[in-house]
């Protein structure tokens, strides 16, 4: 039974792409700015953080342009938050499909990850432009970036699987998720660096995303600072926990999604 499920998942792999393609195509159809919308929102956040933390609060930038420090933080956060948001709303968004057709339900949240990745590409392009502009070219560490992206995705998918399965039963989570993400962006070092916050560093490390953002900065800023093993270890642990338990809970509840949704 279990093996059968994963084989089915493989057989339906093209559906993954089709659903993602549908979502992207539909989203930008009949919009005036089209794909530009994928960039407007994250850039606005970066500008606000740069202004509040860099200009007003005068947080230390560690020798890099503060704008880039925030940009890299936003890059990691955006990937995580978009993925989590998409995944947790995905099942309820496909309620009609789920109650009428069989396919491995994991396809739905997974396809929403692809959509988030496409959005990420646009923001990444903005980062490249900003990096070239400010001449903050990363070093060899940048090759590690895909691994750190994967970690952000695992965290988002793992917790997202919990949330999307819970949303099927309790629509509260639909309201809770945007709220959590709104708080999360401040509880996570998106707009500031952790390596200068000796007092708060250890507390912040409990946040699963702190390690990811530290790692992103280590990889892209290339200022030669030491790798934040402490927070990174926490992130790895959280990711393993969320992914394994998320898949377990999802598999356990998916057989009655069609009845509850």
């Amino acid at each position: 039974m279990e093996a059968h499920y994963w084989r089915d998942l493989w057989r339906y792999r093209e559906l993954l792409g089709f659903l993602a393609w549908r979502d992207v195509k539909v989203r930008y159809q009949q919009t005036f700015l089209g794909v530009a919308w994928a960039v407007v929102q994250p850039i606005t956040s970066v500008v606000i953080f740069w202004f509040v933390f860099g200009r007003l609060a005068k947080m230390p930038s560690g020798g890099e342009p503060y704008f880039i420090v925030v940009m890299v933080g936003q890059l990691a956060w955006q990937l995580f938050a978009n993925t989590l948001g998409n995944v947790s709303g995905s099942l309820v968004g496909s309620a009609q499909l789920i109650s009428k057709v069989y396919f491995p339900r994991l396809i739905v949240p997974l396809s929403s990850v692809l959509v988030a990745l496409i959005d990420f590409l646009f923001v990444f392009a903005m980062y490249v432009i900003a990096a070239l502009w400010t001449r903050t070219i990363p070093g060899i560490h940048a090759l590690w970036l895909p691994a750190f992206m994967a970690l952000a995705l695992l965290l988002a998918v793992g917790s997202g699987l919990w949330l999307c399965a819970l949303t099927v039963r309790f629509r509260d989570f639909r309201i809770l998720v945007p709220f959590l993400l709104q708080i999360g962006v401040f509880a996570t070092p998106v707009g500031y660096r952790t390596d200068y916050l000796t007092k708060w560093r250890d507390v912040l490390a409990f946040n699963p995303m702190t390690g990811v953002i530290d790692a992103f900065r280590w990889s892209l800023l290339g200022g030669g600072e030491s790798f934040a093993w402490y927070s990174f270890g926490f992130s790895l642990g959280w990711a393993a926990f969320f992914v394994l338990s998320g898949i377990w809970y999802f598999r356990r509840t998916e057989r009655t999604f069609a009845d509850d949704i």
Binding site: E14, F18, R22, K25, L97, V101, F170, F257, A258
Partner: protein, 406 residues
């Protein structure tokens, strides 16, 4: 050809309703949980949870190439059975063995996105049903041709007429080439020509390609035409399994109870309790053109009421009311006491072949409604005349019993 395609063993599906269904938010769940604890503390009995067996101890097998019709009243478990067989939801107990790939068409246009073009939707829909891009490419031409939408391939589906929409949806499903095809009532939507085309396609799929088909329909005549076998469900249980004709007979004989009726008007002082159509000789409510028909209206009065007037309305399959008969047409009225009674109306059936539904109602002396039940009974007109001639494909919804003089 006699390989097993489907085996269903002791299949049951339990739905828990009321309490659980209302727990849509965490607050409700918490509230409910607290109440449970409170009741336990007060030594109350187990909390009442309403349970509902949508399917109960079903057992049947199907061979490859069989076409099985599933009939039964609303709520008898037909749709649940299809959902369980197509793996959309899990059975509570029991086992299902399916040999081969299953495709189900439980609703027209599931997964269609209105903003996307017909072409895009064909690919999307194919993928939803488990086809790969290469497989869809191979069948693309056939699908488009079957659906007759060549000119509108690049138009968003939201601009399609409902007919085009249905055609496209069925076309995709019909070309999935599954080993087992599950179809639910989808043919009820298209126009007559297209319905015929769909039925033809289903027949082709089963007889020529040897695929197994499960088919739910309220259209009894298509069940009879198409299926090699039919099962009748009654409150989730298998009430009959056998030849379609016999299953339909068993279905039309099922006693209708008043809880089924939709009372759409009236003060309820006098209520219709049952509508029956005792067919002459045969068991089915199947009429021939110019055949004798009799409809019994059983009713009960709460208290002594004044004189009553009864009426019946006959609706065609598309919902249009095609005929009416009022009791005062014949000059009679009934004075009602407090006991249960019945009245019957007889006529020679004028209707063209098809399926018809009957509504009935009761007026008081001032033509105020006591009751009006909608679609309480249905009957079928077969393709033939009472004197044995076959139907000649004439136009007209009714045939006049007229006198022709040279």
């Amino acid at each position: 050809m006699s390989e097993l395609a489907i085996r269903v063993e002791d299949l049951s599906k339990l739905y828990k309703i009321s309490h659980l269904a209302n727990q849509r938010t965490v607050r409700d769940a918490v509230h409910h949980g607290m109440r449970l604890v409170w009741r336990r503390l007060r030594w109350n009995a187990r909390p009442k949870r309403e349970e509902f067996w949508a399917l109960r101890d079903l057992n049947f097998e199907m061979k490859r190439g069989e076409v099985l019709g599933i009939i039964g009243r609303n709520g008898a478990g037909k749709s649940t059975l299809l959902k369980v067989l197509s793996r959309i939801t899990e059975p509570t107990t029991g086992r299902i063995t399916l040999r081969g790939r299953v495709a189900s068409l439980l609703e027209v246009g599931t997964g269609f996105h209105p903003e996307l073009s017909g072409r895009d939707n064909i690919y999307l829909n194919g993928a939803i049903h488990g086809l790969t891009r290469a497989e869809i490419n191979r069948k693309f031409e056939q699908i488009v041709e079957f659906a007759e939408v060549t000119r509108f391939l690049d138009t968003p589906v939201k601009r399609y007429s409902s007919g085009m929409y249905v055609r496209l949806a069925f076309a995709v499903a019909a070309h999935l080439e599954p080993d087992i095809l599950i179809v639910d009532e989808v043919l009820a939507v298209g126009d007559a020509t297209f319905q015929k085309k769909c039925l033809g396609k289903i027949r082709e799929v089963s007889t020529e390609e040897g695929r197994t088909v499960l088919f739910v329909s309220h259209n009894l005549s298509s069940v009879r035409q198409l299926c090699s076998r039919a099962i009748l469900l009654e409150q989730g249980r298998l009430a009959f399994d056998g030849l379609p004709g016999a299953a339909i007979a068993a279905y039309t004989q099922q006693d209708r109870t008043k809880s089924d009726y939709k009372h759409i008007a009236g003060d309820g002082a006098v209520r219709i309790t049952a509508l029956r159509m005792p067919a002459d000789g045969g068991a089915e409510a199947i009429a021939s053109i110019f055949g004798e028909m009799r409809i019994e209206i059983h009713y009960e009065a709460k208290a002594a009421v004044g004189s009553l007037e009864f009426f019946i309305l006959v609706y065609a399959d598309d919902g249009e009311c095609v005929a009416a008969s009022f009791q005062t047409d014949s000059g009679a009225r009934v004075a009602a006491g407090a006991e249960t009674r019945s009245i019957s109306v007889s006529f020679k059936n004028p209707f063209a072949p098809g399926r018809y539904m009957v509504s009935a109602g009761i007026f008081d002396a001032f033509r105020q409604f006591h009751d009006w039940v909608e679609f309480a009974e249905s009957f079928e007109v077969s393709s033939g005349f009472a004197d044995g001639r076959a139907f000649d494909q004439r136009l007209g919804r009714v045939s006049l019993e007229a006198r022709w003089t040279p």
